[in-house]
Amino acid sequence: MKLGEPVKVVAVFDKGLKPAKFKWRGRVYGIKDITYTWASRDGSAKILHFSVSDGSSLYELAYNQSTLKWSLEEVLP
């Protein structure tokens, strides 16, 4: 399910940026595993993408380094 919805994220800066948990539609999801990370560009903005799992579903979080905003891009069951 493609979303692109804004989310609140608690992240750790330790040898790079690592999301730890996020709040989406009022519910907090703890991140158990970051399965993949990659970067892309939207014009001059660099976007960091994180495939993360809470143990039951897979989510794609994106962090826009220009706007400093997080979004939930996709949810996979």
């Binding site: 595993d33 993949y36 892309s40 560009r41 939207d42 014009g43 001059s44 993408h49 495939s51 996979l76």
Partner: protein, 412 residues
């Protein structure tokens, strides 16, 4: 010093990236496809390959071969970034890294042994770092040999996760019975032509008289003889030092066959804009414009026109290509369209004589600046706003993709 060339070939690259990112896909037969309706398999996982799923199959063929197959729509951004990460790892071993395609690279590791150990240790280090820094499921096959031809042959000899080293002393015995079609650059057509001449193996190719090969194949005849002997002169061309682009082009397989000329014109405008923007980005202009058309039966032809002045102006490219289109009597609907410019020259800094031309240059420059800052087609032609033919489409990335530069890239 004998050159030491390493060829690194990522195994089932797109599929491995998807299996790395999505744990539920691991160990399962998956096929990465484009998002267009008429897409094909770009990469199959090794689990799917066991069922006979191959690159280029359409979805129905792939599903017939492997009923439990899972289709995954590819994400080119993910693969491009992963490719860049892979190249960065290789660059930490040698500055001479050539990005051959999105999932293959040549590295000249001649003289690197004092810093990193013998070639086999360098190969093991590359494999370990790719697994540690990109993903544990990302494996690669590595071939090491005295030249690119043999290094590529070596990496193809053991997949997945292989390491094959070909020393100079191994070359004659290895090539003697090897079918010519196994060599990089000798495709099915050339293989058939060589076989018809009674040349089936590399050993036979290496012994064939140069005069006969030259007579049959022209200037590449002698090169073929050398290849049959494992001799290959082409060196590793580091990223950023590639030859200037010979053409800039884009092509697209349309979502459905199109006969309506107005719709065709819209696709041509979009392709012209993509070509013009990329040529302007790299300060290049082309003296020739070319339109490529493919019919549903895959009959493909191109028509080109030589211009009085080289151009990278979207509207000029569009107008000339439309002129070519108007001169063609299309016999059926169209499956694929392509636009390219060639016979390239560097843009001069000369200011156009007429105000109208100067205004047009300023307009394009402003459009390009906005699109560079805000991405994609933030500003585009009004004709394309109603329904962007590229919207919601993830094209199949071309094998010729490079991390930088202006090499020809086709979006199919």
């Amino acid at each position: 010093m004998t050159p030491v060339i390493m060829h690194v070939d990522m195994n089932a690259f797109f599929a491995s990236v998807e299996q790395q990112a999505n744990t539920s896909l691991r160990g399962k037969p998956i096929a990465v496809i484009g998002s267009a309706q008429r897409t094909v398999v770009t990469t199959a996982s090794y689990e799917a390959r066991k069922f006979g799923v191959k690159t280029g199959m359409n979805k129905a063929e792939a599903k017939r071969a492997c009923p439990p197959l899972i289709f995954v729509i590819g994400d080119n951004r993910k693969y491009m970034d992963t490719s860049v990460c892979m190249l960065e790892i290789l660059k930490s071993f040698s500055p001479k890294v050539e990005a051959y395609s999105i999932d293959e690279a040549f590295v000249d590791i001649t003289g690197c042994s004092s810093a990193f150990g013998p070639p086999s240790v360098i190969a093991a280090s590359v494999k370990a770092r790719i697994r540690a820094e990109i993903g544990s499921l990302l494996t690669c096959s590595v071939g090491i040999a005295p030249n690119k031809l043999l290094a590529k042959l070596a990496s193809d000899m053991k997949k997945p996760d292989g390491l094959v080293i070909i020393g100079e002393e191994d070359v004659p015995s290895l090539l003697e019975g090897l079918p010519v079609g196994e060599l990089w650059g000798i495709g099915p057509r050339l293989t058939a032509q060589l076989n018809a001449m009674g040349i089936a193996t590399c050993g036979e190719l290496g012994r064939a008289p140069a005069s006969i090969l030259r007579e049959r194949f022209g200037i590449i005849g002698e090169r073929l003889k050398d290849m049959g002997q494992g001799i290959y002169g082409s060196v590793v061309v580091p990223i950023g030092q590639e030859e200037e682009a010979k053409s800039v082009g884009h092509s697209m397989t349309l979502p459905a066959d199109v006969a309506d000329r107005a719709a065709i014109r819209k696709y041509i405008l979009k392709l012209s804009e993509m070509v013009g923007a990329r040529a302007r980005e790299h300060n290049l202009k082309g003296r020739k414009v070319c339109l490529t058309v493919r019919y549903p039966d895959f009959y493909t032809f191109s028509r080109q026109k030589t211009l009085a002045e080289p151009t990278n102006d979207t509207r000029a490219i569009y107008a000339w290509v439309l002129g070519i289109l108007e001169a063609i009597r299309l016999r059926t609907a169209v499956r694929l369209l392509g636009v390219s410019i060639s016979d390239m020259v560097k843009s001069s800094l000369q200011i156009p004589l007429f105000e109208e031309d100067r205004a047009r240059e300023r307009l394009l420059s402003a459009m390009d600046a906005v699109n560079r800052s805000f991405g994609g087609s933030t500003i585009t032609w009004a004709t394309l706003l109603e329904e962007d033919p590229w919207e919601e489409r993830s094209g199949v990335i071309s094998p010729s993709w490079r991390p930088e530069g202006v090499k020809r890239v086709n979006v199919k």
